[in-house]
Amino acid sequence: MAIMSQEVLDTLTSDTTMKFLATMDTSGILNASIVATVSPMDPETIIFANLKLNKTKKNLLATKKFTVTTFSPSMESIQLQCTFQGFQNTGPMVDQFNEAVYSKIKLQLSEVGVGKVDEVYTMGLTKPKTKIA
């Protein structure tokens, strides 16, 4: 597991950061989604809302692996290599996250995906992809 730095945590919680989530099925077919709700739960864990993540959900349950890449207005990106832990649909964390998501986009989530961060990379116009955790 990797520990996300404060800079990475800040990037993930910023409202101006775009976040994308990629998965793969068991036959190697790739799938990319825009998942604006990706947020840190703690420095080793990220969570995201299931809002019509049909193929993503199937792939996560089948392969357990996913990648999140961010894009900031400064044109910097962070890539997180993650291992899927499961979906939760009840409990205080789900209630709190649902409230936060609803306040921003007025949609009720069906469940919350949880992933452990394995590796963290930075990328940008001025710097090549570099592992930072």
Binding site: M18, F20, L30, I34, L51, L53, T63, T69, F71, P128
Partner: protein
Amino acid sequence: MAHLPEEVVEALEEPENIKMLVTADEQKNINMVPIGSLVPIDDETLAYASFFSGKTKKNIEATRKIAVAVFQPPMEGYQVKGTFVRWETSGEIYDKVAGPAMEQLEAAGLSFTPSAVGIIKVTEAYALSIPLAGEKLV
């Protein structure tokens, strides 16, 4: 091959939209990177400028499978899946893709020349924005 709808072509043509290119290696490790140079050549072909011999290039040569996600503010998004066809290192397509990509970098004070332009044939496209997320377009 599939023909992209006009709205997807327009989203891919817009340089301000955010585009991510997803590839994977043979061990199924997924790599997703922002790729500002990616543009449609026509409604069934994409191309992007490759500046470095990094993981994306290695993966695309090994597996030939890609996915692209494009976000168009405020709330539109599309996913395009495709198959890598070839690299071009000169000619009309190279100039069409490499020129604007180099201009974008120059505007940021950087000077790089793409080693090649990757040509991708479109196989499928999907909507990514709610409420249509996941709906197959072609």
